[in-house]
C-alpha cells in the first residue's frame, strides 16, 4: 500500500476560484515526487491540502489517504497528531515562516515537545542534533531568524520539518528565493536526507531543472490539473505535453546552441482560475494546438511506460494532427 494516495482532489476558494480540479497521484515510501507549475496552477494548494492547512474559505473534495486514513475527513485530534509527526511541510519564504521573536532552537523544540513525550533537556539535545544534520552549527541554536542568512534559515526550516521524524516531507518552493550556490546546497541536503532516512519527499517548484535533479518522478500542473506525470528523466528528455516542453525550455541548458540568443517562452499568461474552459485549458497558449483542442475534453491518458499525459496528441487518432 502506498504511503500517500491522493484521489480526485479538488479545491475551490470562495465561490468561483477553482484552484485544483481533480488531481490524483500516489507516492510510495522513500519515493520523491516533483510538482512543477506556475502561478495559478494549484501546486501550492495541493501541498497545503495534504495536511488540511487551507483557509476556511476553501472547499475540498476527494481523498487524501495517508496510510489508511483520509486526511480530509479525520478528526481534529488525529489530524494534529498526523501533522508534523507523520508528514511535515517546509514552507516557502523561510523569513516569514519563522517567528522573528523566538530563537531557532525554541522553534525546533516546539513540535518535539508537542508531539513526543520528552522533557526539555531531551528536546534540546534533539534540536542540536537536527541543526547539525542540516549543516547549521549547533552553537547557533540561540540565534534569532534575522541573524541567519537565507540559506541557513531554509536549513532551519528543514530541521523543523524533520523534528518529529515524519514519513513524508512536503517542500514548497524550498529554493526559490535563494542564490544559485545556496540552492545547490539545499537540494543536495534534501537529497541526502531522503536517501539516508528513507523519507518520502514531495517538492514543489516552478523550475523544472531543479526538480529533475532531486526527484524520481515529476508531475506538471496547469490550471489546477496534472497535465503530465512520469519519471523525471524521461519527461525532461522526451516531454509528451507541450506545456512540459515549454517549461523545460524556459530555463535553458548552458551550452545548448538551440537556446543561445533564442529565449523560448509562451505567449499569453497563466489562466484565470475562475474560468472553466471547454476542451484543453492550455489550448490558448499552445504552439501545437489544432482544431479539436478547444472542444475535446482532456484527461490523463497513458503515454508510455509509467507515464501519462493530458494532451490529445497521445491518443492514436490525433497523433499526427497539426494546427
Amino acid at each position: 500500500m502506498s504511503l500517500l494516495e491522493v484521489r480526485d482532489l479538488s479545491v475551490t476558494y470562495g465561490a468561483d476560484v477553482r484552484a485544483v480540479r481533480g488531481v490524483s497521484f500516489s507516492l510510495d515510501a522513500g519515493q520523491t515526487l516533483g510538482v512543477a507549475g506556475e502561478s495559478g496552477s494549484g501546486k501550492s494548494t495541493v501541498a497545503l491540502s495534504l495536511l488540511r492547512l487551507l483557509p476556511s474559505s476553501a472547499r475540498t473534495s476527494g481523498e487524501v489517504r495517508l496510510g489508511d486514513e483520509d486526511v480530509l475527513t479525520m478528526g481534529w485530534g488525529r489530524l494534529r497528531t498526523v501533522r508534523w509527526a507523520e508528514a511535515s511541510i517546509v514552507f516557502q519564504g523561510a523569513m516569514s515562516a519563522l517567528n522573528p521573536v523566538r530563537t531557532i532552537g525554541e522553534q525546533i523544540r516546539e513540535p518535539i515537545l508537542l508531539h513526543e513525550k520528552v522533557g526539555i533537556r531531551a528536546a534540546r539535545e534533539r534540536s542540536a542534533e537536527l541543526l547539525d544534520s542540516v549543516g547549521v552549527p549547533a552553537r547557533r541554536v540561540g540565534a534569532y531568524p534575522h541573524e541567519l542568512s537565507g540559506g541557513q534559515r531554509q536549513r532551519v526550516m528543514i530541521a523543523m520539518a524533520l523534528a518529529c521524524r515524519p514519513d513524508l516531507i512536503i517542500a514548497d518552493e524550498p529554493t526559490t528565493a535563494l542564490d544559485v550556490i545556496v540552492q545547490a546546497q539545499i537540494l543536495s541536503l534534501l537529497g541526502d536526507l531522503v536517501r539516508e532516512s528513507n523519507i518520502s519527499l514531495i517538492m514543489i517548484s516552478h523550475d523544472l531543472s531543479v526538480l529533475a535533479e532531486t526527484c524520481d518522478r515529476l508531475a506538471v500542473m496547469y490550471a489546477g490539473r496534472i497535465v503530465e506525470i512520469g519519471t523525471s528523466r524521461q519527461m525532461i528528455a522526451e516531454p509528451r505535453h507541450p506545456y512540459t516542453r515549454a517549461l523545460s525550455g524556459a530555463f535553458p541548458t548552458i551550452g545548448d546552441p538551440a537556446s543561445r540568443l533564442a529565449p523560448s517562452g509562451l505567449p499569453g499568461d497563466p489562466p484565470d482560475p475562475r474560468v472553466i474552459a471547454a476542451g484543453c485549458p492550455f489550448e490558448p497558449r499552445c504552439p501545437e494546438a489544432f482544431a479539436e483542442c478547444s472542444t475535446h475534453p482532456v484527461e490523463l491518458w497513458p503515454a508510455g511506460e509509467r507515464r501519462e499525459s493530458a494532451c490529445l496528441k497521445v491518443l492514436p487518432e490525433f497523433a499526427k494532427a497539426s494546427a
Binding site: 550556490i181 545556496v182 524556459a250 543561445r260 540568443l261
Partner: protein
C-alpha cells in the same frame, strides 16, 4: 569608432557605516563597458554589489569614486545634466507590480517620463508607440487599465514601454524576469533582443541567473564582492570558465561539464572584505593548496588589479596553474 554606449570607469560606491557595522564597499573598483547595440550580462549573487552598480550607472546613486560615462561624456550630477542623461539611459526593475504606481493607469505610467521632460506634443502617439513596441498590442486596449488588472508579464511590458517612451539608447535591467512566471520569462527576454534588433538598443542586464546570459547576452561579467572577477564573450566564460567562482556557479547548473563544486564559507559581506584576493576564503583552488605552498601568501595578501573594461579577463592569482581542486564539501554554511 563609436564611443561606447555606457561606461563605468574605476567606479566605487561605499555606503557609510550604520549602527554596529562598518562602511560597506558595495562597488569596489569596476570598469565596465556596454558598447552600442551590445547586450552585456552582469551576473552575481546577492550582496555582490550588482544592483548598486546598476543604479550608479543610471545616475540614481552617486559614486564615491570614479565616474560614469555615456558616449564618451562623463556624467555630471547637476539636475540639468541628470535630466539630459535620463533621456539616454533608462532603468527596468525586478518587481513590475511594485514598479508601477497603483494610482496611475497604463497611459499615465508610460506618459510619466515624457511629461517630466516636457515632451507634451504628440504625447498620445508617443505612448501608443511605446506600448506597441513593448508588445502590448493593440495599445488602446491597455491604456485605461490599472496595474492590478494586469498580469506580471504585462506589467513588466508597461514598465519597459515607460522606459522606451523616452527613446533611450541604453536600458539597464535589474533582474527583469526574476519575479515572473517561467513561461513568461522567454517573452520578456525575447523583447529585449527584439529591441536591440529594431531600435539598436544596448542593454546591461543584471541577474543571478547564468541561463539568462546564455539566452540573450553577447558578453558577460561575473561580479563578486564589489569587483568583476571574470568577463568575456558568453561562450568563453560560460563554457570554459576560468575563475574558481565562475566555475562554482557553472558547476551547479544542470547539463554543464564542470565537476560540481559546493563552495564553503560565509556568503559575501561588503563590510568585511577579505584581504588579498577577496574570494580566497571560499575558493576551492586556494583550499587545495598545500599549507606550505607560497602561493597561499599571494592569495591572502596581494589584491588583484581591477579588470579593464572591454578585454576579456580573469581576476585570479592561480589562473592557468595546475592544482587539484577539492570537491563537494558538506561543510558549508
Amino acid at each position: 569608432m563609436n564611443a561606447p554606449a555606457l561606461e563605468a570607469r574605476d567606479l566605487k560606491v561605499t555606503f557609510p557605516p550604520r549602527r554596529g557595522r562598518g562602511p560597506a564597499r558595495a562597488v569596489d573598483g569596476v570598469n565596465l563597458t556596454v558598447g552600442a547595440g551590445e547586450i552585456v550580462a552582469l551576473i552575481g549573487e546577492s550582496g555582490c554589489g550588482k544592483s548598486t552598480l546598476a543604479r550608479a550607472l543610471v545616475g540614481l546613486i552617486r559614486p564615491t569614486a570614479g565616474e560614469v560615462a555615456y558616449q564618451g561624456t562623463t556624467l555630471g550630477y547637476s539636475s540639468k545634466a541628470l535630466k539630459r542623461f535620463r533621456r539616454y539611459t533608462q532603468l527596468v526593475l525586478q518587481d513590475p507590480g511594485g514598479a508601477l504606481n497603483p494610482k496611475q493607469n497604463v497611459f499615465d505610467a508610460v506618459a510619466e517620463g515624457p511629461r517630466l521632460h516636457a515632451l507634451r506634443s504628440g504625447l498620445h502617439e508617443r505612448v501608443h508607440d511605446a506600448l506597441s513596441r513593448a508588445g502590448l498590442r493593440p495599445p488602446e486596449q491597455f491604456v485605461d487599465r490599472y496595474p492590478h488588472e494586469l498580469s506580471g508579464g504585462q506589467q513588466q511590458r508597461v514598465v519597459i514601454a515607460g522606459a522606451l517612451a523616452l527613446d533611450p539608447a541604453v536600458i539597464v535591467a535589474d533582474e527583469p524576469v526574476a519575479s515572473l512566471d517561467a513561461s513568461v520569462r522567454g517573452e520578456i527576454l525575447r523583447l529585449i533582443l527584439d529591441l536591440r534588433e529594431s531600435l539598436g538598443l544596448s542593454a546591461l542586464v543584471v541577474s543571478h541567473d547564468l541561463g539568462l546570459a546564455w539566452n540573450i547576452a553577447d558578453r558577460v561579467a561575473v561580479m563578486y564582492l564589489g569587483r568583476i572577477v571574470e568577463q568575456g564573450p558568453v561562450e568563453d566564460v560560460l563554457l570554459r570558465p576560468k575563475h574558481p567562482y565562475t566555475r562554482a556557479l557553472i558547476s551547479v547548473l544542470p547539463g554543464t561539464d564542470v565537476d560540481p563544486v559546493l563552495l564553503r564559507g560565509e556568503p559575501p559581506d561588503p563590510t568585511a572584505i577579505p584581504s588579498g584576493c577577496r574570494f580566497h576564503p571560499r575558493c576551492q583552488r586556494f583550499a587545495a593548496l598545500d599549507a606550505s605552498d607560497e602561493r597561499r601568501a599571494t592569495c591572502t595578501g596581494r589584491d588583484l588589479p581591477v579588470l579593464t573594461a572591454i578585454e576579456p579577463g580573469v581576476a585570479c592569482h592561480l589562473v592557468d596553474q595546475p592544482i587539484e581542486e577539492s570537491h563537494a564539501s558538506s561543510d558549508i554554511r
